[in-house]
């Protein structure tokens, strides 16, 4: 396993990737992250050189269905829990031209 030193920069970057704001009172998360990362190093004791990964335990793959329209939620129902709705759509925060 590679060196897992979780520096402030790595921590901030991970928070950004996670879309999370870590409050000052939650600063201990960083130490706990380091602790957990240290704990899992125990896996280095096991040789996995010729072992394939198991992503899923009942070995099903490429589960497909017929391309047929099935009954689904109505538009109104699908929108019913949204905070902001506009013309029958979910309204999101702008991601481009934010200042316009």
């Amino acid at each position: 396993m590679s060196d897992n030193s979780i520096t402030d920069a790595v921590f901030q970057h991970t928070a950004r990737l996670s879309r999370l704001e870590i409050k000052p009172e939650e600063a201990s998360i960083k130490d706990q992250l380091i602790e957990a990362a240290k704990y899992v190093k125990v896996l280095d004791e096991l040789d996995t050189k010729d072992i394939s990964p198991t992503f899923q335990v009942n070995h099903k793959n490429n589960v497909l269905r017929q391309d047929k329209i099935e009954p689904s939620l109505s538009q109104d129902l699908a929108l019913s829990q949204a905070k902001k709705v506009s013309n029958g759509y979910f309204e999101t925060a702008p991601t481009i031209n934010k200042n316009k």
């Binding site: 590679s2 790595v10 992503f55 099903k60 589960v63 829990q81 905070k83």
Partner: protein, 465 residues
């Protein structure tokens, strides 16, 4: 009749059919119990009084669960009933559809009386991380009920309901069932649909029952199971059917993994499990010590990496746009898990963490395959200790993992397992035994558990409240 809430599913069905009481009386009895106790225990996040009583008046009691009060872990989507996952982020979320399992349980006539408390997002083994406050253990309210399905297990132990459902990712059915002295049945991965259950660690999430007896749990599992086209990992099999029970265990080999008795195990737990093994031996089983089962410490590490990774991906959907509040409503525990998951999946670390863990998962599956060549089923403690004190999980980054160390290996391999009461410790807290079998061998799990229950009375003990 009084105390209808104390009945098992089997007894309640008999009473309803023979008209000793009515479905509204049965539902009312559970609601009364909730009203008198739940301020103390906090098993429920939401109580569904009006609707439950209304449904009880018209339900067909000839259905398999007709008129039976059901408590549902609050991570199952329930149409028109609030579903919070015990997180304030979903405080106002009303599900627009039912989970497949809820649909099946409703069609079988079950009446939802409430949604039970859990560790927020099912992240934990204490129910202490719920944004709605901890649930307390009915056996001793200074102790935790376990988790994450702590509300369902406590509601069953306190007779606030007749049946309940929980979900297990790595211990979340078996461990709270053990700490609360009730029966928790975790099915083979894929046996019960995950559709409509708030996703946590999708590659091991397994919904299942928590009940007052092995038969009750097996009946519920039969109803909840079966192939679901809406869950791509659902097994292509008909619903599971409870097999005949056995009068003896002749010809059966039961394994006792020595590594499931770690040094920190509470002596009374060890003693109760070895006593249970003697009972199985008395009924004809051969008890075989398994000296070379992979140390559970590796499962703790695999689970820690994979759970966090899948959590970071699954919880990415909570953006406050389509439902719920925005991401600032995540509690510290969820943030901690999302952060570690994002870290282990991010560029430069993926191979060292996520991929390595998935490879060790292969070794864990292979290890079980090897052990199941020697034995038919495996028994051991569910948890190294009985219920710990309220506050025990605070500030402990690995609390859940350490409490669940003996159920994590079988969860990672997708195996079925059950937790059944098998004793009490010095301060009268329940001790429980787990029985694990190869994938799709719930029949064996049921038969061994049922024989134990038929010949002991631990499951009949109830806390004084």
């Amino acid at each position: 009749m009084t105390d209808l809430n104390k009945l098992t599913l089997f007894q309640a069905r008999q009473g309803l059919k023979s008209k000793k009481f009515t479905a509204p009386e049965l539902v009312q009895s559970c609601l009364n119990r909730i009203k008198s106790l739940d301020k103390k225990l906090n098993s429920f996040v939401t109580i569904v009084e009006e609707n439950a009583l209304k449904q009880a008046k018209t339900v067909d009691i000839n259905l398999p669960l007709g008129g039976i009060p059901l408590a549902v872990k609050d991570n199952y989507l329930t149409k028109d009933i609030r579903t919070t996952a015990s997180s304030k982020l979903l405080d106002n979320y009303i599900a627009q559809y039912d989970a497949t399992t809820i649909d099946k349980l409703k069609k079988a006539g079950a009446i939802i009386i409430g949604k039970t408390n859990l560790d927020a997002w099912a992240h934990g083994s204490s129910t202490e991380s719920s944004d709605y406050g901890p649930t307390l253990n009915p056996w001793n309210t200074q102790h935790l009920p376990g988790g994450s399905s702590g509300g369902s297990a406590a509601a069953i132990a306190a007779d606030e309901t007749i049946i309940s459902v929980g979900s297990e990712t790595a211990g979340s059915i078996r461990q709270p069932a053990a700490w609360c002295g009730v029966v928790g049945f975790k099915p083979t991965y894929g046996r019960v649909s995950r559709y409509g259950i708030i996703a946590m660690k999708s590659s091991t999430d397994s919904p299942g029952p928590i009940c007052k007896s092995v038969d009750d749990a097996a009946t519920l599992l039969g109803i909840m199971s079966g192939h679901d086209p809406l869950d791509a990992t659902s097994i292509d099999e008909d619903p599971w059917k409870k097999p005949e029970s056995r009068q003896n265990l002749n010809g059966l080999k039961i394994g006792l993994p020595l590594s499931y008795f770690p040094s920190q195990i509470q002596p009374e737990v060890k003693e109760a499990i070895l006593k249970a093994a003697e009972i199985f031996k008395k009924f004809g089983a051969q008890i075989i010590e398994l000296p070379d089962v992979l140390d559970p410490k590796y499962s703790i590490a695999v689970y820690t990496i994979l759970q966090r990774s899948e959590v970071s991906s699954n919880l990415a959907r909570f953006d406050g746009i389509r439902y719920g509040h925005d991401r600032s409503f995540f509690g510290t525990e969820a943030k901690r898990r999302i952060m570690l998951g994002t870290y282990s999946l991010s560029a430069g670390y993926y191979d060292a963490y996520y991929l390595k863990a998935q490879k060790v998962r292969t070794l864990i599956c292979q290890d079980f395959d090897k052990q199941f060549q020697k034995v038919d089923a495996i028994i051991g403690p569910v948890s190294p200790t009985t219920a710990l004190k309220v506050g025990a999980s605070k500030g402990q980054a690995m609390f859940g993992e350490l409490q669940d160390m003996l159920v994590e290996p079988s969860s990672i391999a997708g195996l079925p397992g059950i937790s059944i009461p098998c004793g009490f410790d010095k301060i009268a807290l329940p001790v429980s035994l787990q029985i694990i079998a190869p994938q799709r061998r719930e029949d064996l799990v049921y038969q061994i558990a049922k024989l134990f229950e038929d010949n002991t009375d631990y499951h009949l003990q109830r806390p004084t409240l």
